[in-house]
Symmetry: none
Subunit: 271 residues, 2 copies
Amino acid sequence: MKTHSTQTPDAATANVPDDAAKPKAAATDRTFAILELVASASGPLAVKTIGTTLGLPKPTAHRLVNGLIDKGLLARDLETRDVIIGVEAARLAVGILRASLSRAPVRSVLRAVSAELGETCNVGVLDGGDVVYLDRVEVEHWPLRLQFGVGSRVPMHCTAMGKLFLATLPDGMRSRLLASGPFSAQTAHTLTDPDALAAELERIAARGYSLDDEEYVVGVFCVAVPILSSTGRTVAAIAVQAPKVRLSHDRVEQVLPILRRGAEALSAQFG
Amino acid sequence: MKTHSTQTPDAATANVPDDAAKPKAAATDRTFAILELVASASGPLAVKTIGTTLGLPKPTAHRLVNGLIDKGLLARDLETRDVIIGVEAARLAVGILRASLSRAPVRSVLRAVSAELGETCNVGVLDGGDVVYLDRVEVEHWPLRLQFGVGSRVPMHCTAMGKLFLATLPDGMRSRLLASGPFSAQTAHTLTDPDALAAELERIAARGYSLDDEEYVVGVFCVAVPILSSTGRTVAAIAVQAPKVRLSHDRVEQVLPILRRGAEALSAQFG
DNA sequence: TTCAGCGTCTCATTGAGTGAGACGTGACGC
DNA sequence: GCGTCACGTCTCACTCAATGAGACGCTGAA
């Protein structure tokens, strides 16, 4: 195998004190380091900060950052010139998570949950203000299926997963999203009033799971629970959906433990 | 997919026009291309497939793939030696999605406006004498879409957004920019005469919105309104663009209130 | 066995990345 | 208004890491 034995250039005949902290400066490594830094930062980052944090010379930091901006992986904040994540990065991220879920061991988790519940289950994340389905296992061929396959997007305010994400968001972000627009009434049950929605989010946050009682599609009931990262943050969600004749409030307590077990098994997949 | 539009046609350092071919081969670009390819693939990929798909020489493909594997961004399927997404990539993706949350409000608003109008909408800012698109929501059903993806830059003097920015700029800066001509004639309708352009800017400033009647792309009509900061300054703009058969002068009064509502919602995001 | 296809290794070549330094610019503080 | 400062941009010579053709080895199929 020999992982590229070039770990230390000519360690032999090393008369000089080999400075261990002098790794080779690979452009690609640094580029990924920048991307990861911006992705893990709590907010917009100044290029200077990036440079000092990663120990990059000033022009180099700018060159690499601008390269990422050209690719759309990073972007600049409107008012400040700080660096934020770009839209291409979000696209890439969704693809990555989708691909990482298609790996066999994980796939079986969702399948097992779905089999145990006897209903259609899916896994989704929040991207750009709506819910994206990363994976999905269907049990049956009922007519309402397939409108929402893998990769499709559904609104936040009227789906179990979406409301769950909203409920677990930091306060500032939640209020900004709640302020970001009118909420379309998909059905007669859709919560369109911001106050009513806010109250529902409180309930969801308190009890740790989310329901959708015909709020998006008439006759369809959903239950969603969060998938937590190792730091305890909600990074994704797993949900079951079924026609209301088969799944409704009275069965929630029954499906929750099964969903939660699945969520726990999946959480390893998200760091 | 893959906007890749930012080819930087700037030609600033272009020595001679004879070099038609662009043998630009940046290691970082190719690395990201590999990552994206694996992320968007339906299953595990052979290195050979990656190489041929991206046009990489055999050893190069292996080197880059192994580099990504060393970083944990890719991994190998255990039985087949095929390439799959690695756990680090999933971690990175979660971070990206979290970090890109700050864009969500803008996107939500844009999507709502676009849905209501049934046409492609975008948000842009002024940057270095160009209009740069920050975000964009497209409607799928018309073929000539997509020329201008997120991050791409368009001129100021012949686009609805650009003229809007020009019109709302402080006098000194406007005259400086106007003096920086010449203004290329993109179509027969493009305003290239500084005086005519100045008159147009007066009109725009007076009525508070801006139009582009085939001034940049033949057959395309645009309407743009400003997004104001809390201090009343124009910090960005929201625009709708559509083929002229569907959007023209007679529909302006109809789309304006919808655009303005979106602009107002976006303004709130800067409070 | 022979063949074919894929992964690995080598190595001369070169050009992309590098970073010190100079310069431009905008934001404060006084 | 005027220095001051700090960040961003530009330039340019250097050099090191990436490049890719070619040779080689492995494994599995005919």
